[in-house]
């Protein structure tokens, strides 16, 4: 599979710097995937293959790592990636209701993406914000101490943003 992807020289410099910061090459994989994610927008098959070739580690290993974490943006994820924490504190404080509410509003269940490609929903493990449970993460932002009204509001806001933004 010929790979046409490449890192910009700026990103390449960061990668080379990372190599000096970790004891083994495999240990550099996590931050390198972050670089690839921001450079290419998502981690799909070509992107994972690119990282594997760049780092000279088996593609299968990269695949295992990318799919292990929920924190990487996999190919096919909607523009807004809504990840609802479902671990203990959040669960006790009503994360299931948060998920149902989103499902109601968007018409998708956990693990699904809206046909328009705007929204993805998933349930994830603890996001380290237990004191403000229940909470969700949308792209890079945390939304904490959620009520169902907050959820409605967030979705309205995201919809408006999506409609108002560039077509596509």
């Amino acid at each position: 599979m010929a790979n046409t992807l490449s890192f910009s020289s700026e990103t390449m410099k960061q990668y080379e710097w990372l190599l000096t910061r970790y004891p083994t090459r495999r240990a550099v994989l996590l931050p390198t995937l972050r670089l690839a994610e921001s450079e290419f927008g998502e981690l799909g098959v070509p992107e994972m293959r690119f990282v594997a070739d760049l780092m000279e580690i088996p593609p299968a290993f990269v695949f295992g790592v990318v799919t292990f974490y929920t924190h990487y943006r996999r190919a096919g994820t909607g523009k807004y990636n809504i990840q609802v924490c479902s671990t203990l504190s959040c669960a006790l404080r009503g994360s299931e209701d948060v998920v149902s509410r989103i499902t109601e509003r968007l018409g998708i269940g956990p693990g699904e993406t809206t046909p328009c490609g705007q929204f993805s929903l998933s349930k994830v493990e603890c996001l380290g914000s237990c004191d403000t449970a229940p909470m969700l993460q949308c792209n890079d932002d945390y939304h904490e101490d959620l009520t169902l009204e907050d959820v409605d509001q967030l979705i309205e806001q995201l919809r408006a943003e999506a409609d108002g933004g560039q077509n596509g």
Partner: protein, 543 residues
Amino acid sequence: MANNPTNDSAVSMTKWQLNGQEVENHAGMTIMEAAKEHGIEIPCFCYHPGLSIAGNCRICMVESNRSHKPVISCSERIAEGLEIETDSEVAVDARNSVMEFQLINHPLDCPVCDKSGECVLQDHSYAHGPDRSRFVEDKNIRHTKELGPDISIWGNRCIVCTRCVRFCDEISGTSELCIVERGDRSVVDVFPEIPIDNQLAGNTVDICPVGALISHDFKYEARVWNMDRIDSVCGGCSRGCNIEVETLDGFVKRLIPRENLDVNDWWMCDEGRYGWRHLYADDRITQATRDGAEQTDSAATDALEELLSESGPVAFLIDPFLTCEELHLVQGLAASRPGSKVGGWLPADGTAASFPSGFQISAAKYPNRSGAEQVFGDQVFGDDAKQLQKSLLSNGFDTVIAFCGGHQSTGPGDSWTQALANTATRIVFSVMNGPWLEGASLVLPATAPIEKEGTWINEDGRLQRTRSCWNPGTDPFAVELVRLQALQHALGLRGRSLSAAGVFRELAAANTAFSGHNHSDLGSPGLLLSERPAAVASDGGTE
């Protein structure tokens, strides 16, 4: 090959306690390996002696005086003063809990699972599993898909022990497999469009402790408890990997490797593993023919006698598939016909390969070149063969007996086929049909490597015993070992016929290279030809 700390007599000993008994083992051993030496088998899923220790399945937990919680015996090492209980309440409880956990999502579809009967999970479930499930939620679903041309994964059965992943990382060095996702969704997979397709891939199916990895070749072919097994040796190349041949109603269904740390560790290559289908191919020779007309077994032996009793010197063309015993019989015949000549043909070289673990595949795609060279001298495939071909081409012999084993469609090759065609009386033992049989006076069915009973010498000079996978009582044709002895008997060269072990005794008495050896002392690992069995006779070495 594999490093085995128990074989190193220089290491010091450690005293520890196992189930209340004071015991001693080599320092540095794991609890599991040490306990095994005292006859205590601790259950394991993820541990495999040929792979690195992963310690992920937890089924091997035992109670320790050095820890508040149970410890995993596959990775904890023994130490002075350590006290281990393998069957205390704490240990049994720990195992039962792990079993219950493993079975939460396991489909328990044993009735349709190929692994059933040799499944580690099934065995432990029987011994340690609860007889009912407290799990009322839905079981999860994981993918069932092809991972490569010969292997599929039944994801629901995977217990994520990572044996298969470690095999590809450490033994084949090809790293095609990984675990994707996590938690109860985790399962084995390959990178998209990079299938598992290495020369050792089939071993992953063997070491999968459950029926998650399935071999396409064996899928739904047989229930394992119905099969007969025989300890054999692969004739696919000059490594001579130790294998088990499994048959159902006399038909081969599967070959699997048999542990031999001096030859193949726990592995075999896929070429050897799947290389048995030709046994049942349409162009397999199963019937003797004389000038094209079918013969019964006894008529064929009579014909052989008739053709030979009047013959002068005979040309013998041997192959590197014949056992040492068969070669010895050929030698006896050659000696009885003064002026006879012996030469051998070799199949073309294939490709050799070696792997990070030290496992090797030889380019010499036949099992017993070394044996033939011990019996007939080191020029039997060299100058002797050249001379034999020359004299056949110049009509130097009236009679030739040729052995054409193996399953290559090229057989002994064009120049030998031509040389054979130059001889008036042509007797050919052959496994497969091919141009070398054209115009033969007498065609006799021959045994393929895994059908032979006897010994081979691998490329390291290791004498190994292989056993026939079929029952001679029901086979459709007489084997060379039987027919050659019948011929010797008819020609007045021997009294009664012997088993392969008996013929080997004659060989050992006649040939100093083999002297001192006998079948029963070879045991399962075989012996280097240079090592005399006296070294092992003291610890039994019986068969």
